[in-house]
Amino acid sequence: MVDDGQRLLSSVVASQLDTHSKYGGVVPELASREHLRAIVPVVRQALQDAATTFEDLDAVAVTSGPGLVGSLLVGVTYAKALCFAGSLPLIAVNHVEGHIHAVILEERQQSRDVAFPALALVVSGGHTHLFEVPAIGSYRLLGKTRDDAAGEAYDKVAKLLGFGYPGGPVLDRLAPSGDPRAVKFTLARMKGNELDFSFSGLKTAVLRWVEGHNLADEIAQRRELQRAHPAPSIEQWLIATPQATRDLIASFQRTVIEELLRRALASADEIGAESIIVSGGVACNAGLRAATNRYPGYRFLFPSFSLSTDNAAMIAAAAFPKLERGEFAGFDLRAQANLVLA
């Protein structure tokens, strides 16, 4: 629930609800059946947390893509039903646009406006995109990953090192214990659009390093640690991670951050950006946040941790400019798995 495009009234994520635990070990965001079970309690909770009822709503916003079509369909169909029952306008929002608006919403909450033109780096397990944002609601794609998303590279490297899946956040927390210059990784050189990203080569380089350094025993030890403790503490991980592997992790992290920031800064210069919005799950990465401090000439904006990862508040925030413009979706709105923002 978002009020007036600038006040976050409530934000509910299904995995935080108690009722969720009874769903068992299914990856919840994947299964349309789990969406179907969660959507009514989640919406009810969001209304309750905001001390509002359906009668107070001006419009309902829903993600129409990109994503898994089954999961999108549950949201789109439910939103249509709510709008039909309450004679409310329906607003379709692109998931990626939502990530950008997470930052705009939080700036507004502190009575600040994002300065445009802005550069947006949306970086998560599924996305690594650079957009020029000349003004609210206007986007131009500058670059995107041609293979793995940055968050995906983190999670795959974590898994091959025995930190489980998804283990990207564990690598971020272990990285400060290693030497980021110990292992030299080659930066990706892109033919064609130099603002495109590639993380597949880096992932493979880590795999080759692991194969060449006889890590089988320590990887087995870490897998054992995770079997014994579902969520090991960082101290437990450190004990199970020798210095050479910490150095590898620090070097991997440094390389990913350099790939991201190099292109973000080049893009920002190219478009004369007044601010750089970084959003998506990887925006939680402490190493990335710290690295931006090295560039005081640029105004970097990150969302809070809870609005970095997928959430519905950012979708409501992104809907406000459309509400003001009267840009409503019809009941023929379709879920579009491969919807692009620009």
Partner: protein
């Protein structure tokens, strides 16, 4: 059986373009190979070879599970890497995809043999060197025992 020896990502994409010409409009294609073998790279070539999207527009579906190409959809690129149980695979609608009139290209599908139709095409990518790969295609209906394109 169809076999290719490639020495670079570009050659693997080129092999994908050649494979595309041999694939039927509708089939399940199992893509096997270790992490970093080039499964997504091969899909780039296949999608480009079919003329429905550029190679640069094909990215990894690990997180998103399914990427669609074509309008109407002619290729579903599926990655089961982060799924652990058959229930999860069924849960996102994998079996529905198999009923579509489309190519369903599946990475890490060999982990769920019970869910794969017996009639399928299998593409295996073996790492033969730092950047060289052997790509083997089995199960094409036009298979003759010794057809071979490209390399040796």
């Amino acid at each position: 059986m169809l076999q290719f020896e490639t020495r670079s990502d570009e050659e693997t994409r080129e092999a994908g373009r050649a494979v595309a010409q041999k694939l039927p409009a509708s089939a399940l294609v199992l893509l096997s190979g270790e992490l970093g073998a080039g499964k997504t790279t091969l899909v780039k070539g296949i999608v480009d070879g079919l003329g429905i999207a550029g190679a640069d527009d094909v990215s990894s579906p690990t997180y998103t599970i399914v990427h669609e190409y074509g309008e109407p959809v002619r290729v579903y690129h599926v990655d089961l890497y982060r799924l652990d149980t058959e229930e999860e695979v069924r849960g996102f609608g994998f079996e529905d995809l198999l009923d579509r009139r489309a190519l369903v290209l599946v990475e890490w599908g060999e982990r769920f043999p019970q869910l794969l139709p017996r009639e399928r095409i299998e593409i295996t990518i073996d790492t033969t060197g730092e950047s060289s790969r052997r790509i083997t295609v089995r199960g094409l209906s036009s298979d003759s025992p010794a057809s071979s394109i490209g390399g040796t």
